[in-house]
């Protein structure tokens, strides 16, 4: 008989081992999935995990790793703060869209002015946009006790409609011959987030690294970070220790919103270039997987973001070379979260095999 025994302390070894185990299990299960789809599983896995890094065209794909990884890490860092305290912002996708809209809006308003202050203003506007969008569920939760999960998610759909409206209306390129979508910010040097396009380096990459350091210091060296961890691990103790939940909710949701907004702004002014109807590609949702895979730890998130970026790029290569459907990689990412959550059992519990007792 298999029995579960709660560990007095979560196992440190398993905390680090479960993500690796989950990745391994996902590779196996994913391989099976690819085999069912009629692809050579070994080749598919190699294409996804090996080719972008060490394959023939790696020089082209490696910079892509930064481009895809930066928004994931940036958003996931913000989400992890809330997740640690049991505050569930799952509407990062919406905050990402709004950040891109407000940021690009400011940039386009200054077009074609060539001044140093345009881009910093865009960054501020992007962060504020995401922050404001996340403040809606935050304020509603603090003021009325409304469920932040549902509100933040509903706002994703609202944001998508706003995006459609903006790219067809207010922000549409006046010289675009009636096509939907804004001017391309890549043609507007003062409003571009690229530092070095060939190296895949844009300000979002820098911001992601800063966010990792910021979150690390906050969680380990700051009272507020201590309160966040305390609320997540022992809510009752947190209340006795004088943690004010309202402040925590506003801070966690606000920060994650601002970071998601920044990710959107850096994306729209760099890799994507323009506001268009299909601008968002689900980074806000994938970042949830990144946050969990990284154990809600800043450094872990950095690694998890890189891995997830790898699956994005590898998935694209496999799409081109092997004809693997784009949705297969989405399934692959979903599987990863499944396995991670399942294996997490080993962190908190000890599995004991005992003989069934005879009374």
């Amino acid at each position: 008989m298999i029995r579960l025994e709660k560990r007095p302390q979560p196992s440190r070894v398993w905390r680090l081992a479960t993500p690796l185990l989950a990745v391994l299990a996902t590779m196996i299960a994913g391989g099976l999935l690819f085999a069912v789809l009629g692809k050579n599983p070994v080749e598919a896995i190699r294409t996804i995990f090996w080719d972008p890094l060490f394959g023939e065209f790696a020089f082209y794909y490696r910079p892509q790793l930064l481009v895809k990884g930066a928004p994931l890490v940036l958003i996931a860092i913000g989400l992890s703060l809330g997740f640690r305290a049991g505050i569930w912002n799952i509407g990062a996708e919406g905050q990402y869209i709004i950040g891109a809209l407000t940021g690009a809006g400011v940039g386009l308003a200054f077009y074609p002015l060539d001044a140093w202050f345009v881009f910093p203003l865009m960054v501020i506007a992007g962060a504020l946009g995401g922050w404001a969008w996340a403040m809606i569920p935050a304020v509603l939760k603090v003021r009325f006790g409304t469920n932040e999960i549902l509100v933040s998610l509903m706002l994703v759909y609202v944001a998508e409609q706003l995006l459609a409206s903006m790219s067809l209306g207010l922000l549409r390129n006046p010289e675009g011959m009636g096509f939907p979508g804004s001017r391309n910010l890549n043609d507007y040097a003062a409003g571009s987030s690229w530092i070095n396009q060939n190296a895949g380096l844009h300000w979002g990459v820098a911001a992601a690294l800063i966010a990792v350091i910021f979150a690390y210091v906050l969680l380990n060296r700051h009272m507020l970070g201590y309160h966040i961890r305390l609320t997540g691990e022992a809510p009752r103790a947190a209340r006795f220790a004088g943690v004010r939940p309202a402040r925590l909710i506003l801070f966690c949701l606000g920060t994650s919103g601002a970071l998601a907004g920044l990710a959107g702004l850096f994306e729209v002014s760099g890799p994507s270039g323009q506001v268009s109807i299909d601008f968002n590609v689900g980074y806000g949702f994938t970042a949830i997987i990144v946050a969990f895979l990284g154990r809600l730890h800043p450094v872990g998130i950095l690694l998890a973001g890189a891995l997830m970026a790898l699956t994005y790029i590898g998935g694209e290569i496999a799409q081109g070379n092997l004809g693997l459907p784009a949705a297969a990689i989405q399934v692959f990412q979903g599987m990863l979260l499944f396995f991670l959550l399942a294996f997490d059992l080993l962190t908190d519990y000890r599995v004991r095999v005992t003989r069934s007792e005879v009374a």
């Binding site: 579960l4 025994e5 709660k6 569930w88 799952i90 809606i136 509603l140 009325f144 006790g145 409304t146 469920n147 999960i149 549902l150 509100v151 998610l153 509903m154 706002l155 994703v156 759909y157 609202v158 409609q161 706003l162 459609a164 409206s165 067809l168 209306g169 949702f285 949830i288 997987i289 969990f292 459907p325 784009a326 949705a327 297969a328 990689i329 989405q330 399934v331 692959f332 990412q333 979903g334 599987m335 979260l337 499944f338 959550l341 399942a342 294996f343 997490d344 059992l345 908190d348 519990y349």
Partner: protein, 306 residues
Amino acid sequence: MDLSAINPVLLIASLMVAATPLLLAAIGELVAERSGVLNLGVEGMMITGAVTGFAIAVETGSPLLGFVGAAAGGAALSFLFVILTQFALANQVASGLALTLFGLGLSALAGQRYVGIKPPPTPDLDIPILSDLPVVGPILFGHDPVLYFGIFLVAGVWALLKFTRAGLILRAVGENHDAAHALGYKVVRIRALAILFGGACAGLGGAYISLVRVPQWTEGMTAGVGWIALALVVFASWKPWRVLLGAYLFGGITVLQLNLQAAGVAIPVEYLAMSPYLITILVLVILSADKSRAPASLGRIFHASQ
């Protein structure tokens, strides 16, 4: 703008059709939540049901088999949730999100071959005389069987929770799993059944969208209906009849905004399209003042050792 183009009888009849996916998904989730499980994977289970139902209906030519398959598909996905939350004791919020992300991907993968195909039509009930009555006919007697099944299901769940021993046990598990366990009830087994029921209902709801409401398959076609269903359970204060009321209310809003779009109201299409989501938020705000109705063990992990 021409508001007279909106026919009130057709409006009510189509409102019932628009409300049915919500109704089915929400009543399933209500049962799961009354047993103390918060399954945020409704959207994922719905879209899985939508694609399995569609595929089976197209392959076999029978919408009925399609709906049965959709229920099985939704339940199969929810079984993953059972494994995660009941056996692996994982966090329910995270597991629900995983279910949704996985379901969206899986359905997109499975549905590729079915884009642009028309499913076999689900026949409407055609009762002589009754269905031909003016006004009452199209509203009460002119729908497909699944719509009536949804209403029947609400009545069934209501009776089960209120009058039967099984319902009492389900509620006991949801209110206090430790006490229920001490009384000798199999908490994990009861919750697993409730989750599977929720999955089957969500699958049915999804198939209703792909087979009746739209009817065709497009990627991500549930477009947040699963999340609105979750909100609906809160709106209904975990009471079955209020789910029916809420579903018809939301169905009404959806249909009305579509009608307003068609009638060419001066409000841009995008702003009309976001109205159901905004109204959901509004309703959540109004109702969240009263949390006392929520099952006391909702979302808590049960492990017999504690």
